[in-house]
Symmetry: C2
Subunit: 201 residues, 2 copies
DNA sequence: GCAAAAATGTACTGAACGGTACGGTTTTTT
DNA sequence: AAAAAACCGTACCGTTCAGTACATTTTTGC
């Protein structure tokens, strides 16, 4: 195995364990037994446990935004259809067990090495993309003209409230099925559209 | 000091430390130095560290809902004014450093002894109260008739999204000032009212 | 005032963990 | 093939921690 491949294997195993059991709940020895080799090998790639943690969580969070932005389709002309489709995709992505776990750890270890700040920055980046789409609809008169960034924030809140909080609080587990996701996206987008429909006078 | 008083003193000190540093970050010895006495005393009141944790977090979460419901004033007749007032109160309460810390720990230790489930149950209880208020407005025609429970959920999402997430992710600290809270409540309630205004036709 | 119950201090156990040392082995590079 | 780098296993160090044992003192109930 290559040096880089080894390094990546360590990161992968560490990511999986950190994601499942958090920072304190994961021991270096555990990582070595998963990835093979010995502790010394890990400490020749990463100076401390915390550096290893930050590095693999950073990569995971980077993947989060990349995957989410890919769901955005700016070609539509009807806000309802476009937002519903985006909402379903983003929910089935963001409510997946992996992503819930990443989010969980990001909050739990928020004060450790700025992993929370990083996660927040990624959310802001995603919001910017959504805001651009909303801006387009506002310019065309399909939506009421208003602060597009803030509208994107509210849309995210409406999308996430129904499914994400129960998952984060471990009240339910597993990926909700398609019907449920579609329903949640529908209810959120419906409220959002009413809140941002063009003024009727 | 009374036996009950001692027990309460232990709970208070433990609560403060757990709230600040989480479960793993707090040691029993630390609690003893804060409360006086020795470890043996703690272990004669609580069988394990986890039981102590659950007991004081449970009390804290109970207080959460009690304090929040007390903010509800069902006497008003104008939804905008009533919800804005409720929103401001609930935000300045829920965004306080103590409550943010409780929420933080509730998520971080969600899988430990069902503290997450308990927290969720309390949120549902609060939602029920808000839904009753919304129902009243829906019945009077001040709001569009719809699922009041779900409307309360969406209202909470809109209220919390602007201030709470940055606090949970440690992107900002301290209690936001009154102006900011009023603004956040205003924006959330404005969107909510638009989404739930009676149909005009 | 006395007996029972509870609180206290100290010292300890046993286990887990992060991180290091080191000598032998494999892999890569030149 | 030789030299260099990376890898491996094992043993170890120092520390921290939950929880216990026990003898002593304080508080409480009658």
């Amino acid at each position: 195995m290559n040096r880089d491949a080894k390094r990546q294997a360590i990161l992968d195993a560490a990511y999986r364990l950190f994601r499942m059991h958090g920072f304190d709940g994961t021991s270096i020895s555990e990582i070595t037994t998963q990835v093979g080799g010995s502790k010394a090998t890990i400490y020749c790639h990463f100076p401390t446990k915390e550096v290893l943690f930050v590095e693999c969580m950073t990569a995971a969070v980077e993947g989060y935004i990349t995957g989410a932005v890919a769901q955005l389709d700016a070609s539509g002309t009807d806000p309802g259809a476009a937002l519903r489709e985006f909402g379903e995709k983003i929910l089935s992505f963001g409510a997946s067990p992996d992503m819930v776990a990443v989010r969980h750890v990001s909050i739990a270890e928020a004060s450790r090495s700025g992993i929370g700040k990083l996660f927040f920055a990624k959310i802001v980046a995603l919001r910017t993309h959504v805001a651009a789409l909303l801006s387009k609809f506002m310019a065309s008169g399909a939506l009421r003209a208003d602060d597009a960034d803030f509208a994107a924030t509210q849309l995210r809140a409406l999308l996430e409230v129904e499914l994400l909080e129960p998952l984060l609080l471990h009240v339910r587990e597993g990926l909700p099925d398609e019907k449920e996701i579609a329903l949640a996206a529908d209810r959120a987008v419906a409220a959002f559209l009413k809140a941002y429909e063009p003024d009727r006078r």
